[in-house]
Amino acid sequence: MNATAWAWLVLLFPLLGSIAIALGFKVLPSKAAGAIGTAAIGLAFVCGVAALISLLGEAPEARHHASSLWDYASVAGLEIKLGIFVDPLSVFMVLIVTGVSTLIHLYSYGYMQSDEGYHRFFSYLNFFVFSMLLLVLAGNFVLLIVGWAFVGFASYALISFWYRRTTATKAGMKAFVINVVGDIGLVLAAFLIFRELGTFEYSEVFAKAPQVFSTNEWTITAICLLLLVGAFAKSAQLPFHTWLPDAMEGPTPVSSLIHAATMVTAGVYLIARTHTLFVLAPTAADIAAFTGLATLLVAGTIALVMTDLKRAIAYSTMSQIGYMIMGVSIGAYSAGMFHLMTHAFFKALLFMAAGSIIAAMANNQNIDDMKGFGKAMRFTSITMLCGGLALAAFPGTSGFFSKDEILAYATARGGMYEIFTVLGYFGALLTAIYTFRLIFRVLPGRPCEEAQELIDTGHVHHAHPFNPATGEEEDTDVGFPGADHHIAEQSWPMRAAMGVLAFLALFAGLIQVPGLDEVVTKFLDPVFADSPLAEIVPSVGASWAGLAIGATISIVGIGIAYWLYIARPETPAMLIRRLRPLHTFLVNKWYFDEAIEFLIVRPALAIGRFANRTFERIVVDGLVNGTEDFVGGSGRIVRVVQSGFVRSYALLLIVGFAGLALYFLLSSS
């Protein structure tokens, strides 16, 4: 079979899985939903590999195929097809999405075991994977928008999975609303593209764009800026990022899959896919790059002071995606996509480990209460260390090769772009510090109560279920997570998934060693061949120099973290005392939430109140009631004639007849 047939199968299996679990949720035995879900994604992964193999069997220039199932609309110049586009970039994304998703499904098989909403979870998760694959495989902008919207819905459904928790539902709504803002940008961009180029199909748009637009013309810049609105909202970049930390209300596998590995990378994929347009609008590309850089730094600083384990990792995600956005905007396409891949591995792993630790803490997510899990949970701590090393770009790990490749490219491009390198390395320093801040606070040291309980009895600490954000008590019925939690040490699916990811986090970088193999670059080159920026290739020497600098910074960062949290543990408290205003500023997340509340939410609510009180009550009701009164009044007046007396009706009849006869007599005389 050819690549597009495999691609259709890739789309089919998760959809079937989702529907099967949804329809059969009452009859399926308890763990069958998990098995079906995992198997569906596993099959999709296999088909993805098959697509890759068949793609590799072709010449590099010919590796792009479009295939369509049927025409959605074919009217008056509007041609929309249900079509996919298979090329190295989409297959790359398919493999990452399905591969990591299979592992996360496997992890959830064990982790969500005692949740009352087990079946619903897997159905939603499968649906999410289907939507993400649809987004990635879409061959035209309309289907892209469909996948984009579905992914937003899946994210909402999974964030609010524990729907009886008000914090979760509010977070879900916040995520969805901000995503919709992004959707608007994307849709407007699609409209503009259609207006200027007359088509939605990728192949036609990217072929026509260089002919129709001249560089930095305002239409193409507008299109790219609108695309950026969509990308930033989905990828949680400034200023659309406020939903991501709140999205940690969802179960840990959800955070791991959606908000680390796949959905938030959709923005990066979008920019990479539409790179032809961004080449024509360098201003927009620069804006994207600077936004990525800004996010990188802001999120990095906030992660330094976060005390909620999952939120700290979330800010780390935001920061790393800033790297990716920066990469694909300045032209380091393969480097950005490679970092996407490695980040998926180690960030998913970090979330999985965090989930295991939080389970051991009976849902308490505050790292102030966590200590000494290194002894209590060997496997979890080893895998967490692997993930942390990769995130901090420790020499030899996957994150090391991927992050520094982006920064080497920035240096190679030179000029203004050197600032990305400098600040990028500073961001890497922050990354190393905050990553090992987490690891050094949670893993070593004298075990805390819950860890001690685990060492002594082997049982997970049991506490009355409560909401970690507000502390309020919960019951164990559906809609809440319940009282039972599962740690990796006691659940083989969790260990299997985490083990695979740990291996990948450590060694996946070896496929892209500068000067040696560069598998990813060679694979993705045909996609980006039309961009002049792809011709800027850092020399091997410059790459290795960059790697050396990166290694140094990483080790320095880890050293600083060690000094702060293990050697001189009283230092952080002193620093907080000395720099209290800065600390408050960072703890309040640079006041973005408050700013948005003030600038957008309050005016919107005020408009709503005005509309209800004034417009609705006075204008609309006035109109409706006024019409009613008018009709009723005129009816009352006319009713006087209906007296009910037959004789008066007869009189009217005869008067009328006489009058008519008189008229005709007069008119004919």
Binding site: S643, G644, F645, L651, I654
Partner: protein
């Protein structure tokens, strides 16, 4: 006699019948006045038939008689029904269909 006398008589009878309907309140008498009006019409039909010279007007008059008979039957049936329900037999009292 000239035809015009018959026509004048017919319109006079018609007017008398109309006035009767407007003035009287008993349903029976109103029906009687209706009869007068119908017969006035019949008279003018037959007069014109004689004036023209063919018998079509007379056929028309016969059909009018048939119709009048039917109408009387139904109307009197209504009056009997009203009487049987002990409702007042007065056209002014029977005015439920008012606005």
């Amino acid at each position: 006699m000239n035809t015009e006398w018959y026509i004048v008589l017919s319109s006079l009878l018609f007017a008398v019948g109309a006035m009767g309907i407007l003035i009287r309140r008993s349903p029976v008498v109103i029906l009687l006045c209706l009869e007068i009006m119908l017969n006035a019409g019949n008279l003018s039909l037959v007069a014109f038939s004689r004036m023209v010279g063919n018998q079509q007007g007379q056929i028309f008059a016969i059909v009018v008689m048939v119709v009048a008979a039917c109408e009387v039957v139904v109307g009197l049936g209504l009056i009997v029904a009203i009487f049987r329900r002990k409702l007042p037999l007065d056209v002014d009292e029977l005015r439920e269909l008012r606005g």
